[in-house]
Symmetry: C2
Subunit: 301 residues, 2 copies
């Protein structure tokens, strides 16, 4: 089965209580594809500018499961940059600077050989662009998207058009409340579940996630992480592992989806333990499987 991701590639500067990285590898499609790569092949689509250092994406180019044929190096453009600073409580952060650069230009073109992808993740971007990217695909079977408060506030009509066309939506609890006007996150999730064809995952950061599917609600705690260095990319890593697992199993029934969310949870928990993708570079699928077993043990009652 084939999994495709479209999203950002970022040159990130991150400050946190335990340190700082400058011009580090980041971006939604980067975190997503590396996390998905623990489970099987993934097709990468994203754009950088000509300023992007030649070896910046080497960990992805070198990865046996990541097909970089969808990487565009756009002449005359500059790469997306983000600078964030986490508080003493790393669940809160400020954006110090953001330069959209190439992300504010035309979207990527999905390579011909990727167009038959069955499993598709449209990472957060303008919903009109997500619809356009979806239009380039010939036979998608499970399309899942992420979104953010900016589009909910400023591009609601466009976003609603996207929701009609996708199977699953992944978003934060604050975004779910914003989208529905519901202060109760469970109510919010149930309402959004009616806007898409299959499921909604509401991410609650350190508090875990909720799945709305088959008319039911399923709840997952987070991995109890005692040492959080840098939460950047945790949501995209979660989504990457979730979609990677579904693709590997080639199933989207609710039982598989629940297992996929648990995989997403523990995979994201590794990502928190160091800056950028550094922790991912040290682990294998066996580490994820071991932690998944531990996660099962410490959530049973």
């Amino acid at each position: 089965m084939s999994l495709l991701v479209t999203g950002s590639i970022g040159i990130d500067t991150v400050e946190a209580p335990s340190g700082k990285v400058v011009d580090a590898l980041g971006g939604s499609s980067v975190y997503f594809s590396y996390a998905a790569g623990f489970f099987g092949p993934v097709r990468f689509v994203g754009v950088v500018g000509e300023d992007c250092p030649a070896d910046f994406l080497k960990p992805l180019h070198d990865h046996p499961n990541i097909d970089m044929a969808g990487l565009e190096i756009r002449e005359g453009s500059k790469t997306f940059r983000w600078h964030g600073k986490y508080h003493e409580d790393v669940n809160e952060r400020d954006t110090v600077a953001v330069d959209l650069n190439v992300l504010a230009e035309a979207g990527p073109v999905i390579p011909e050989k990727f167009r038959d992808s069955k499993y598709v993740f449209l990472a957060n971007t303008h919903p009109a662009l997500q619809v356009e990217l979806l239009g380039q695909l010939t036979a998608p079977e499970l399309v899942v998207a992420d979104t953010m408060d900016l589009w909910i506030n400023a591009e609601r009509e466009s976003l609603m058009g996207l929701l009609e066309r996708i199977d699953g939506l992944v978003l934060n609890d604050s975004e779910a409340k914003l989208l529905t006007g519901q202060p109760n996150v469970v109510q919010a999730g149930m309402e959004i579940a009616k806007m898409v064809s299959r499921f909604v995952v509401v991410k609650k950061g350190e508090h875990g996630s909720l799945l709305f599917a088959d008319g039911g609600v399923f709840t997952f705690p987070a991995w109890p992480a005692a040492g959080v260095v840098d939460p950047t990319g945790a949501g995209d890593s979660f989504a990457g592992a979730m979609m990677g697992f579904l693709t590997a199993r080639d199933s989207i029934d609710t039982a598989t989806l629940r297992r996929a969310i648990a995989c997403g949870t523990v995979t994201a928990s590794f990502n928190l333990e160091d800056f950028s993708l550094n922790r991912f570079f040290q682990i294998s699928q066996a580490d994820i499987e071991n932690r998944l077993k531990q996660f099962e043990e410490l959530t049973r009652f």
Copy 2:
């Protein structure tokens, strides 16, 4: 086995988006004992003033599992009153008015026939009073206490003295962070677990709870409640069901404790569904057992 609770009896006025109750039954020992009563006998200790209406505690007096021999009606004193107002998001509230009244006076005397209690819950009050109450017991085997930010800030030494003498502590996530100065709740819980002899439960409200016991961390989501009317007393109901279950099983091993926390979670989830103890008056232990089975189902992966 015998379970004893010491705590407050409150005349509560509660405003919430879905309505309001005036002079309603409340207080920590009230919620606790009613929740514990679903699982077995509970010995009630608390004080009201002479202003307390004669039938105010009728639901407890009429309850076959609640022994009210520890109720003191103090002449010349007034009953504790609390008035709270919940926000549109009912996870936040303001205290409109609080009159400690009898709670600011001498503590209760534990009746002679209650002094051999094996399982003991000391609900939130001044830690010196909690120690004094504990001193009235002759053979406690599992002593669990609750506390709050006020005592952490103003009576830390006294609180530390209490912690040395108890087996378990139940507190909120913000209180756990305050007590330890740790912004990470898992780190905070692990540190507090070293201050007591057996376990710590960190309550996270709508996000569930964490158990620190046997050197490990266990994590529990909340019941995904779509219709929250009034969260008042949820924490005390949680503790009551947890302690009631442990007492009924007469076991405090970690596996039993984990099951007890799940019982606390679902019992508290009923309490949220109406003002005061009104929802509890409509349910039986069978309803709790059914919801516990559903909770198991929707948390498995």
